[in-house]
C-alpha cells in the first residue's frame, strides 16, 4: 500500500514550536510541538503535505529530518533570525484543560508568509491555530482552493475577534473546541453555537470535545464521533491538531467532501488523536503505521456499533 499515491495535496499554515510540558504522568522539556507540526505529521499518513511555518536559528536540524521522514514538504518552513516560538504548559488530572505557563512568540512576531505559486494552488488548505490576521493574509493568497478549514483559540477570540470572524466566513470548515465555540458565540448549547458559526459562512463546523470526542455539524446532519477510550493518556498536547490532521488528511485523500466522507474523516481524526496522547510530543505519532490507524478506526467502530431497536 502506498498511502500517498492517491489524493489531493494539502497545505497547512500554523506554528512550529519548542514545547515544555508537564502532566500528572511525567514531563518533557524542549520537545517539538506547535499546531502545524502535529497537523502535518498526522495528515502525512494520508496525502502529500506542504508545511508553511517559521522557526528560529535554535531549531534542531533533526526536526527537519522528522518532517522529511514523514514526506512533509518543508520548503515553506522558514528559518528566521531569532529564536523558535516556545510554549510551556501543564495539565492536571483533568486532561481536557491546558494551563499555559509561558509563551514566548520569538520569531512568530514577524511571521508573514508569502506563498509560492505551488502553495497558492494547493487544493486542500488548513489554517492551524495562529493570528487570524495571518490567516486572512494566507486566505487572500489562495487561488480557488477546493476546501479550506480553520482552527483558532481563546486568545484570538478575546483579542482579534473581528478578523477571526471574517476569516471564518471565508472558509468551508471551522474547527474549534467546545469552550471556544461557546466563548465565540456566547451560547452554551453546542448545536446552537455551531449553527451560529455556520451563519458566518462556513458550511461545516467541527466541535472538539477532548476525551469525549467531537461533534460535526454540516448541512442538516449532526455526527457524534467518540474518542477512543484509552487507559493511559500521557500528554494531551497536540490532540486537537492531530485530530484535525487526520481528518483533513483523509478528506484530501478522498478528494471530495460528502457527509459520509466527513463522518469517516472525523473517526480517522479521533483515531490519530488517540495515538497522539499516548506519549509526549510526537513520540507516538512518529512510530505509527498507516495500518495502526486503520486498526484503531475499526476498534472505534466496534465500540460504537449497535443493532436496531428490537420490538
Amino acid at each position: 500500500m502506498t498511502p500517498h499515491a492517491t489524493g489531493k495535496q494539502l497545505l497547512v499554515v500554523g506554528t512550529v514550536a519548542i514545547d515544555s510540558v508537564e502532566t500528572p504522568f511525567g514531563k518533557a522539556e524542549d520537545v517539538l510541538g506547535g499546531s502545524a507540526t502535529y497537523f502535518s505529521v498526522a495528515s502525512s499518513f494520508f496525502t502529500k503535505v506542504r508545511l508553511v511555518a517559521v522557526v528560529g536559528e535554535d531549531f534542531p536540524e533533526q526536526h527537519f529530518d522528522l518532517f522529511k521522514k514523514h514526506g512533509v514538504n518543508v520548503a515553506g518552513l522558514v528559518k528566521a533570525r531569532g529564536k523558535t516560538f516556545r510554549w510551556k504548559g501543564s495539565y492536571g488530572y483533568d486532561l481536557n484543560v491546558a494551563n499555559t505557563l509561558e509563551t514566548k512568540l520569538n520569531v512568530l512576531v514577524q511571521f508573514d508568509p508569502t506563498l509560492t505559486e505551488e502553495e497558492k494552488l494547493t487544493p486542500f488548505v488548513f489554517l492551524a491555530n495562529i493570528d487570524p490576521d495571518l490567516q486572512l493574509r494566507v486566505l487572500n493568497q489562495l487561488r480557488q482552493p477546493a476546501f479550506v478549514a480553520l482552527d483558532s483559540m481563546n486568545l484570538w477570540i478575546e483579542t482579534k475577534k473581528e478578523p477571526l470572524l471574517k476569516a471564518m466566513g471565508m472558509v468551508d470548515m471551522v474547527v474549534l473546541n467546545e469552550a471556544e465555540a461557546r466563548e465565540l458565540t456566547g451560547m452554551s448549547n453546542l448545536i446552537k453555537a455551531a449553527k451560529e458559526i455556520r451563519r458566518l459562512g462556513a458550511s461545516i463546523v467541527v466541535i472538539k470535545q477532548g476525551e469525549y470526542g467531537a461533534l460535526g455539524i454540516f448541512e442538516d446532519e449532526v455526527f457524534s464521533a467518540p474518542a477512543y477510550p484509552l487507559e493511559d493518556v500521557f500528554d494531551p498536547t497536540g490532540a486537537g491538531d492531530s485530530f484535525a490532521g487526520g481528518m483533513m488528511g483523509y478528506l484530501a485523500r478522498q478528494g471530495k467532501i460528502t457527509g459520509d466522507n466527513l463522518r469517516q474523516a472525523m473517526i480517522v481524526g479521533s483515531a490519530v488523536a488517540s495515538y497522539n496522547v499516548e506519549a509526549f510530543s510526537l513520540g507516538r505519532l512518529t512510530q505509527l503505521s498507516f495500518n495502526d490507524i486503520v486498526n484503531r478506526y475499526n476498534e472505534i467502530k466496534r465500540i460504537t456499533v449497535f443493532d436496531d431497536f428490537a420490538h
Copy 2:
C-alpha cells in the same frame, strides 16, 4: 403494539421526592421528583414496574394517579407519617453539575422497606440512589433475581463507602456518573475506574457522562453511547435516573443480558433521558409515546453511523 405484553417484571427501590429546581431557563417549585420516580416512569414504557418507596402525608394524590397512568404498580409506595423527602437544587450553564441548595430527608429517615413475596421474586431489580445500608437490606431480601443493578451518589461514597462497596459486590451492574466513578476509585481514567469497580463483583459498569452520553464496560467490551444533541435543555434533573430506567426497562423487556442487548439498552436510556431534560420534572416523560422513544433511538443511530475506512 402493546409494550407491556412481553418481558420480565422490574422492581425499583429508591426515592420519591418533592423537588424545587432552578435552571438558567426557568424554575419549578414543589414538583414531583426522586430517583425512583424518574426511573419507574422511564422504564414503564417497556415492562411492568413495581415501585417501592416512601412518601409523606403531604404527597399529592394526583402523583399516585400519574404512576398508575403509566402502569407502575404502587402497592409498595408507602405513605408514612410526616413529610415527603424534599430536594432543592439549581444548575448554572454547565448543566452537568447540580448544586444542592437544600435536602430535607423527612420520611426517608425511617424508610426500611420490607418486600412482599411478589416483590422479592421480581426478576429484574434496580436499586436507585438511596442509602447503601438500605440497598443492602433490599438485596438480602431478594430471591435469586435474574439481574440486579445499583446507582449511588457522592454523598454515600463519602459517608457510607463500606456498605456501598459491599452492595456493589452483590449486583450485576453498577451505574454511576463519571465524577462518582472517579471519587469512588481514586482513578481519573474512566476505563481504569470501571475495571476497578468490576473487581468488586459487578460484571457490568455503566458510567454516565451527562451531555456526552455514557460508557458501558462489560466483559472485554467497551461501548460508547452518545447523548442525543439537543438544542434546548431545560432541566437535567432526573436525566441519570431516566437513562437507567430506559436501559433497565429495555433489558427486562428483552429478558436476557447480552452484549448486544446492553448496547441497545444504553441507547434506549440515552433516548429517554434526552426527552426527560426537555421539560421540568416529568413534564416531557409523561407526554411520551413508545414510538417517540423508538424514533429518537433511530435518530441516535443516524448521528453515530459511519462507513468502513475507505482505502
